[in-house]
Amino acid sequence: MSASGSISGARIAFAALVRLVALTVSLFLFQSSAYAGSRQQEGPSPFTAEEIATFAKKVEKTAAARGAYVFLLARQGVPSKDLPEGVEFTHTGLAVYSTITTEQGETLKGYAIHNLYQDDDNPRRSHLAMDYPIDFFSGAKVLKAGVIIPAPALQQRILQSLESGILESVHNNNYSMVSNPFNTKYQNCTEYVLDILFASIYQTDSIKQIKVNEHAWFQPQEIKLGPLKGLLAPLIAKEFRTSDHSGDIRTTTFGAIADFLKSQSLAEEVLVVYP
């Protein structure tokens, strides 16, 4: 083979490699931004304001009809085809029945949602924000709500924890979309809710004790990405940080929390609400 032939072959191979990497990057970006789910605003909504408001109100009324003072609420922030295997929801918050005062001074009854969201200017950091169902579902790509209503005794403990300032004391602003719930290096939105649950169950604000108990009782969900995506993920998505894991990536999901609460008879009801 001539020298020019070798160079030409190398160029073709290089071009093919570039194309493969570019394609993989593109595909991954859609799925990774997707799985994150902790952004306060997750892109343009495919739904009208009326559709979102109507659905959000239905979710509120569904929980209220069951007498829920506190419930876990989850949304699907990406199309179903982009969800990792076995993952159904991308963002979880804690809904608390509240007396809401509007800017006009009117008093309303409904649910306020307590969330951990990624910072807009730094996806590796997070902040806490309270919003309302209509805001929460503005980030949904599918009108579908995951609802876990804890057992009344657990609801009571969660409310006691809220009174004692647990929302702030368990927050870790170092964000990873696949944070390991068994250590304190990173935290994502769903692990934040898990930490509140364990703080409430054991009536402690000691994050060390919370992690010990989670390790003993909670089973996180494995996130299967495949070898190439697993390799590229940390290079592409800043918030995809895995240094808190050894071996498989196992993180907190809405489904894993539902399984845990059901296994301990601490879930009054687990349901999915559709329009």
């Binding site: 160029r11 071009a15 570039v18 194309r19 570019a22 394609l23 990057v25 593109s26 970006l29 859609f30 931004s33 994150a36 952004r39 306060q40 605003q41 997750e42 892109g43 343009p44 909504s45 009208t48 304001a49 009326e50 408001a53 109507t54 109100k57 209220a64 009809a65 069951r66 007498g67 003072y69 608390v96 029945y97 509240s98 007396t99 809401i100 005062t101 509007t102 800017e103 006009q104 009117e106 309303l108 009854k109 409904g110 649910y111 306020a112 807009d120 919003d131 309302y132 169902p133 209509i134 805001d135 503005s138 980030g139 009344p152 609801q155 009571q156 409310l159 006691q160 009174e163 004692s164």
Partner: protein
């Protein structure tokens, strides 16, 4: 070949830009639009949905007692409060745009 490579990389860059920028701020536009719409039509978005900006939210009053020292008082209150259908106002409440946007808009 070079053109194809450039096209492929450009397409990837566009996807990168699109996914990150959409995630960052687009829905704040929604919130603003919804709020502005509500203000423009006397707290009503299309379809008759009432919308209001929430200024504060306090967990239900019966619950506030739970945090106080007298658990004996709290328990009967809690027991009488649980298991009953709760009232939810028909009006929808929104938190409005992110603080950084709200400040920048002034």
């Amino acid at each position: 070949m070079a053109i194809k490579m450039i096209s492929t990389l450009t397409a990837s860059a566009c996807l990168l830009f699109a996914s990150t920028s959409f995630a960052a701020d687009s829905m704040q536009h929604f919130s603003q639009a919804a709020t502005h719409s509500a203000q423009a039509t006397t707290n009503t978005v299309s379809g008759g949905v009432k919308l209001a900006s929430g200024a504060a939210a306090v967990p239900f009053k019966a619950i506030a007692v739970v945090g106080e020292a007298s658990a004996k008082i709290a328990e009967p209150l809690w027991n009488s409060a649980t298991g009953k259908k709760l009232e939810v106002s028909d009006e929808s409440v929104t938190a409005g745009p992110a603080p950084a946007l709200a400040v920048a808009a002034r």
